[in-house]
Symmetry: C2
Subunit: 201 residues, 2 copies
Amino acid sequence: MSRTAYREAVRILAAKGLVHSRPKAGTRVSPRSSWHFLDPDVLRWIFESGTPDPAFLRELFELRQIVEPAAAALAAERRTPQHVEDLRRALDNMDKYGLAVEDGRNADRLFHELILMATGNEALGTLASGIASAVRWTTMFKAKDGQMPRDPLPEHVAVFLAIEKGDPVEARRTMAELVGLALNDIAALGDEAGLPRRAGV
Amino acid sequence: MSRTAYREAVRILAAKGLVHSRPKAGTRVSPRSSWHFLDPDVLRWIFESGTPDPAFLRELFELRQIVEPAAAALAAERRTPQHVEDLRRALDNMDKYGLAVEDGRNADRLFHELILMATGNEALGTLASGIASAVRWTTMFKAKDGQMPRDPLPEHVAVFLAIEKGDPVEARRTMAELVGLALNDIAALGDEAGLPRRAGV
């Protein structure tokens, strides 16, 4: 590995909070508290490096449960006709391909990302790629054996219809239900595998 | 400016979503939708480059209103004795210095950051520095003339007491009130200055 390539790699890892360099002390791995867990690359590295800690999976769902229902409510109030059209296309592709294949998972990821963008809130929009990546990896984790434990399309359609008709209360409720059902799928998998739960989480 | 310094600066801006480089096309400013609005540096640049768009300020509060009450509820369930002690010290410093000076604003920022850390959720913890920066800059904006429109200490004490006694319902309620009061302060400032509201927000 060339010195330049090494430096560039360290810079990328440092920008994502994974390592830090100090003059003379060299480069060290940073404490997990500084890792950018919502960076799509960091999520990919965590999920591609083996079975993720089930406590971490639950934490991602907890974050989704905080952000996504609130975002769906705002999206119902502020979505443009273009957002509605894009959401409908994402749903069609989820239906067409299914979540066991990459094209279907990408459509799912896009559906969740579009809802965050449709809030019209740029600060919330910053979370779109991270939340969408979390959706993608948690879905991939469920579908590892090529089989989804349950068809998730009906709850996605319910969220879409609430946003389309501009009903924030219904959008919040249906999205909370969607995330809750997805978390149940994961929890069931974790129990089957006898995976430990982190204390208090 | 040296070629190396320029390259390093472009790399940093690119890592924060502000610019992108393409072979032959050179470096261009990226669309706002790719900016990392919760990066502490990006927030600093926005707030230091002049009066920020009041719509953007409202968006930061909207994000805080989604994340912080939920985080306070989780913190009430999971905080360690060390978290309680650190929160108490931050409150003491807010009281001692006041929010018109840097030391007091840092204590305020730390108070909000500690609550996100006390959730014990690493994915939520990723948002801590961004949310804390948003707290810092929105507070700075209010205190620009050296005078706070209102003493914010009582509502911070209420949040602290709820977290200390481990009451998630009360922690959520008091934090929602704190953020709501802070947003009212900003909204009043915006109206005084005759600043436009972004349509639909």
